[in-house]
């Protein structure tokens, strides 16, 4: 019996703000793209329905639903082993959401669900800066949180329970800032958008010195960055402190995993020109001495949305085909 291999998959990236759906072929070419605002669907059932509707429409308009092999989904706090989103701190749906199962039941196709950082790492490994590397770390510096995934001997290290890489909630300052997860001093409370804004507020309160930041209509990391461009001392101090802390977090990570490179991705990389120098200095200061000067610190050159959805599509190939309609 001769058969034809299906050559297209669906990649879905569920972000804090936007959920993106792509039809991707075997070569990583995005054939069609669709997206909607995640927060418009605070009810998980209507969210899943919305995804399914759009997946079917996308597939039908581009070759037919039966040409799709499988689906890959990436989201924060998702677990590849259980196929669920578990206790996501920043998403609207709480508790344990059996997303892979819900999608598979409605779509009738195999579904793989993985952590967003896992998808990003696969994306960088397949199409980006980590191509050809066996041991590397991908840090996803998001607007709301920090995730990561590291590759060990050429495979993504998922850990015993599927939760590896949760560096955002490592404690970098003992008894530090209160984090949304309930603990104190977590890395992401300093490097996320809200963390940088809080640091700016703290610095402005510490002294009476003038600063362009004080007259900003809205305090955002990019706005603070533009103050840096105008040589504002306090604005630079915001990024110096943030970079110092991020450097420690990454140095501890590198000392443990000994990666060839640490690749930075995510929305917060847009402030790298101001954050980078102090982060790199802190990293070199704190990393294990035999690795000093050897770990490449790279900002991803791929477009975030494209790469994340490509990473999700790469995940789709890792599940066995399944069809309700055979």
């Amino acid at each position: 019996m001769s058969s034809t291999m299906k050559s297209k998959v669906i990649g879905i990236d569920i972000g804090y703000i936007v959920t993106t759906i792509a039809l991707v072929d075997i070569r990583g070419t995005i054939l069609a793209l669709d997206s909607f605002m995640t927060a418009n669907y605070p009810q998980i059932n209507s969210f899943v329905e919305q995804i399914c509707e759009r997946v079917v429409l996308l597939a039908e308009a581009n070759g037919g639903f039966d040409t799709v092999r499988s689906v890959g989904v990436t989201a924060a706090s998702a677990n590849y082993k259980t196929g669920s989103i578990e206790n996501a701190v920043n998403m609207p749906w709480k508790g344990e959401i059996p997303l892979a199962l819900m999608l598979r039941d409605r779509l009738g196709l195999a579904v793989a669900v993985g952590n967003d950082a896992h998808g990003t790492a696969l994306g960088e490994f397949s199409f980006g800066s980590a191509h050809g590397m066996e041991n590397f770390v991908v840090i996803s510096l998001g607007h709301g949180g920090v995730g990561s995934c590291f590759f060990s001997n050429g495979h993504p290290h998922l850990g015993c329970h599927g939760f590896a890489g949760e560096v955002g909630h490592t404690c970098v300052i003992k008894d530090g800032r209160q984090c949304t997860c309930g603990r104190k001093g977590c890395l992401e409370e300093y490097t996320s958008e809200r963390g940088i804004i809080q640091t700016a507020r703290e610095i402005m309160e510490e002294s009476d010195e003038p600063s362009l930041m004080r007259s900003l209509p809205e305090l955002t990391s990019m706005a603070i960055g533009s103050c840096c461009d105008q040589n504002d001392k306090m604005a630079w101090e915001v990024f110096r402190r943030t970079g110092y802390i991020l450097g420690i977090g990454l140095a501890n990570y590198a000392s443990i995993t000994n990666p060839e490179a640490i690749i930075l991705t995510g929305e917060q990389t847009q402030v790298y020109k101001w954050l980078g120098p102090s982060m790199e200095e802190s990293f070199e200061q704190h990393v294990f001495h035999n690795m000093r000067g050897k770990v490449k610190l790279v900002v991803s050159t791929l477009d975030n949305r494209e790469r994340d959805v490509l990473g999700a599509s790469a995940l789709a190939w890792t599940v066995k085909e399944y069809s309700l309609f055979l």
Partner: protein
């Protein structure tokens, strides 16, 4: 080629500052014979290699002959598997990069593998100890410093240059105690032999409370454990504080690696519940919430001397056979 007579024995060499031990170990992990000598008697590396070689040959000739040995595995502080060298060891008499595996192979004529003590410990625990059957776990050893080793998907995770697991110098308390490496707040500054003694001294200075520790002219970290067992409050507080900081470092580690278990060797195993209980409590307060209470803490029950040798023997099986005389 039809092979009728597989070699079933290897030589395991365990190098520590005090002693170098060589043993013949068979496929079943049985130690057939062993011999040892004082490492520091040979500060010149070429002398050391000659003596090591002599010891091995004499032992082997008296127990089955040279032909019965497949390969050699060496466990050394600051060892590196990729280069087969001891690299920039702060404590050993030979400085810089010492290509010990190559030197020994040239003199012995058979394959030699060399790796870090911490990595070899993990091999031993995986093959003969508490980690038997586990695929993702961490082995932590506390002694002069703090070393560790990661297993990912059943394989040792060495990292790109073979230095993975160096979490002794992760910064746990920003601006904390000065560490021997020059940085402040390293885990080792609190959770090593010396760090524990420093903590004990701090505690004794804080109050006038009586303690067995005060009368001890040469206070050692293992003696403090003995005082804990005798009910000494200040000794118990010493390990409680150490455990609290240790727990934070371990939590950060586990949030990244998500191990099934953390296995403790060295002083951590000797200190038992006095260290492990406060560490476990602090660990669960700081670890990523989805794996809270899921990671097992296991003090190793292997005899440390045996573990060193058996681990080195497992390593010996990792290199391809080689013989100068084929």
């Amino acid at each position: 080629m039809i092979l009728d007579n597989m070699k079933t024995r290897v030589v395991g060499v365990g190098i520590s500052l005090a002693k170098t031990t060589c043993a013949i170990v068979d496929l079943g992990g049985n130690i057939i014979a062993s011999t040892s000598f004082t490492t520091t008697d040979y500060p010149i590396i070429s002398d050391y290699v000659s003596v090591l070689c002599e010891n091995i040959l004499n032992m082997v000739e008296a127990n089955g002959g040279y032909e019965s040995i497949r390969s050699v595995g060496i466990s050394a502080p600051s060892g590196n598997f990729q280069s087969g060298s001891i690299v920039n060891s702060p404590n050993m008499p030979w400085k810089g990069i010492v290509p010990l595996a190559a030197m020994l192979r040239d003199q012995l004529g058979i394959a030699v593998a060399l790796a870090n003590n911490a990595h070899v410990m993990a091999l031993a625990e995986h093959t003969f100890g508490a980690a038997h059957g586990m695929r993702d776990f961490i082995v932590v050893s506390m002694g002069g410093g703090v070393g560790s080793s990661i297993f990912s998907k059943g394989q040792l995770h060495l990292g790109v240059d073979g230095f993975a697991g160096e979490f002794g110098h992760s910064c746990i308390v920003d601006g904390g105690r000065i560490c021997g490496c020059g940085n402040k707040g390293c885990l080792e500054a609190y959770c090593s032999w010396k760090g524990i003694i420093t903590t004990a001294q701090e505690i004794m200075a804080e109050s006038d409370k009586p303690s067995l520790m005060r009368d001890d002219p040469k206070l050692e970290a293992d003696r403090i454990v003995d005082y804990c067992k005798l009910g000494d409050e200040l000794a118990q507080e010493t390990y409680r504080r150490t455990g609290e900081i240790f727990g934070i470092g371990l939590a950060n580690y586990a949030s990244i690696v998500d191990p099934e278990a953390i296995i403790f060797t060295g002083l951590a195993a000797y200190a038992g519940k006095w260290l492990i209980e406060p560490a476990y409590k602090s660990f669960n307060e700081h670890v990523f919430h989805n794996i809270k209470e899921k990671v097992k803490f296991i003090p190793s029950h292997m005899d440390s001397h045996q573990r060193h040798i058996l681990g080195a023997s497992v390593l010996a099986w990792e290199v391809k056979e080689y013989s100068l005389f084929k």
